[in-house]
Amino acid sequence: MSTDTEKLLWMYTNMLKIRRFEEKVGEFFAAGKIPGFVHLYIGEEAVATGVCAHLRKDDYITSTHRGHGHLISKGGDLKLMMAELFGKRTGYCKGKGGSMHIADVDLGILGANGIVGGGPPIATGAALAAKYRGTDGVAVCFLGDGASNQGTFHEGVNLASIWKLPAIFVVENNMYGISLPQTRSMRVQDIADRAAAYDIPGFVVDGNDVIAVYEAAGEAIQRARAGEGPALIECKTYRYRGHFEGDPMVYRTREEEEMWRAKDPISRFETKLMEMGVLNEAQAREINERILAQVEEAVRFAEESPWPAPEEVLEDVYTV
């Protein structure tokens, strides 16, 4: 493997950051401090990490309702994220968006999305802008297996294909759209097969292997930067938690969950890095502690931040 040590450690750290951040979010949701709908990404960290490892600040992403991992991977600030989840004025969206609408346009993050399938046409548009301006920037659209059945997916990918845009569609196939298993939402086994319908490359990747994701994404993004058009990457993965916090999970078995936990993307990568001599126990502990401190700092920031003022409800509707 040619990936350099720094990149490997960044990916390890990033995955841990997502996990620790979200574990804390789960706790605060249970404690009633984070309101609304919260969809956790735990178990799927390798996908956003392996893809975003290739992205620059001037590249774009569109995210989903399960978006914390995408944000963190694209450079999102934990403090501003946590404050937003708490509904505080200091949050990314001044408390107006919450988990499902978190965004940082300056970092090229065009938002989490409450509408399943909302992202593909938007990513196509961001890719159009990159090409139009003559840059080699790309746009990555993260979406779920369930979202890939929406008409907007077909429309967005087709348009990106005929216009040969630098758009990369990353399907996070966690085998379910809420309660409906992939086997009952489509006939194809590999969503990447659908790439053929648009005459673009399709990759099927073990989404719990961050290096596999990194390699496939690298190829797709390189092609896109070189003007060769879009690609579709399907990452097979699994969410450990319910669809949203509070989901009774009647639609899947505890055995299936155990099977996937055994393929945990973080511990697998940790073992691999240790075998490679890139990481040792002491370093791993140190990284973990550093992240925990960052998460604690984010929580403190969120808790100490003020609520929005009532009149702020009227602001930000139009650009004036």
Binding site: P35, G36, F37, G87, K88, R89, C93, G95, K96, G97, G98, M100, H101, N113, G114, I115, V116, G117, G146, A147, N149, Q150, G151, T152, G177, I178, S179, L180, R184, S185, M186, V250, Y251, W307, P308, P310, E312, V313, L314, V317
Partner: protein
């Protein structure tokens, strides 16, 4: 009488109608195994099987569009749109296809479709899961629009909706699912276009729908302490709209306040006020008032959301303004 929650009342209506008529099927996201994200379709799959209770992919356009085709071909679909906010994904099938087909075909189509959906703020679900879009639906000729506020109304109106031969948009406010009320066990219908006077009064007419009907009743209770007698009228259906009951109430009270959770601009309140002004201007002793949400998307933060949602205090204040 026995009490049920709003969600249970809807569930019972679905079960009783499905037992009666084998052409009724239910389809939507997570309506089967999960029993509906708010539990309204619980137990249907177990009783009626997969043919009649269909879990769909995330594909709103096809959920509603297939209901149009199935209805045109003789079935009676009852489909669920998980949140009314998702209607944009499927709107063409509803407003250009379902709503107009009969008319465009010179009366030669029959489209007995019910689209059940949820609306409303109150759980910090933010801008794409909290909207009240009933006024959009009201603006489309060919659709009927149902907006129940109590478990009793929910059951009777849903049975009427299922038996109606036209496309019906049936809107359930998500904060009402848990409220309890008396509900008869046997099936019954409530005619569309028949408002219900939820409380009689003599000083002012407050017209309110869904969650706001409850807030209006609370406000009426408070205002009674100040000697103000409020009549609360719940239209129950917005299309058809029972202008007559509202106008008759205003002829008695001479004052009108309309309350809804949707944004004021372009909302149902404008239609209701205009109808009263057209028919009973001479009876009004004060300009009518509307209490509604500000013209913004629904904010996430609990403090902002509570500012957005019309409150009992705002209703009380509006009533005091029109009576003095």
């Amino acid at each position: 009488m026995r009490t049920l929650t709003f969600a249970q009342a809807l569930n019972e209506a679905l079960k009783q109608e499905m037992r009666r008529d084998p052409t009724i099927y239910v389809a939507g996201e997570d309506v089967g195994v999960y029993g509906g994200i708010f539990g309204v379709t619980a137990g249907l799959l177990q009783e009626f099987g997969e043919d009649r209770v269909r879990d769909t992919p995330i594909t709103e356009s096809a959920i509603i569009g297939s209901a149009v085709g199935a209805a045109a071909a003789g079935l009676r679909p009852v489909v669920e749109l998980m949140f009314i906010d998702f209607i944009g994904v499927a709107l063409d099938q509803l407003y250009n296809q379902a709503a107009k087909m009969k008319y465009m075909f010179g009366g030669k189509a029959r489209l007995p479709i019910v689209m059940r959906t949820t609306c409303g703020a109150g759980m910090c679900a933010a801008a794409q899961h909290s909207q009240s879009l009933e006024a959009w639906m009201m603006h489309i000729p060919g659709l009927k629009v149902v907006v129940p506020s109590t478990p009793y109304d929910a059951k009777g109106l849903l049975i009427t909706a299922i038996r109606d031969d036209n496309p019906v948009v049936f809107i359930e406010h998500k904060m009402l699912y848990g409220i309890e009320g008396e509900v008869p066990e046997e099936p019954y219908t409530i005619p569309f276009g028949q408002a219900d006077v939820k409380r009689e009064g003599t000083d002012v007419t407050v017209v309110a729908t869904m969650a706001m009907a409850h807030k209006a009743l609370t406000a009426a209770e408070e205002l009674a302490k100040d000697g103000i007698s409020v009549e609360v009228v719940d239209p129950r259906t917005l299309t058809p709209l029972d202008v007559e009951t509202i106008v008759n109430s205003v002829k008695k009270t001479h004052r009108l306040v309309v309350v809804h959770e949707a944004v004021k601009h372009g909302g149902a309140g404008g239609e209701i006020v205009a109808s009263v002004v057209e028919e009973a201007l001479d009876y009004l002793d004060a300009p009518p008032k509307r209490v509604a949400a500000p013209f913004t998307p629904v904010p996430f933060s609990p403090v902002l959301e509570q500012v957005f949602i019309p409150s009992v205090e705002k209703i009380v204040a509006a009533v005091k303004e029109v009576v003095t």
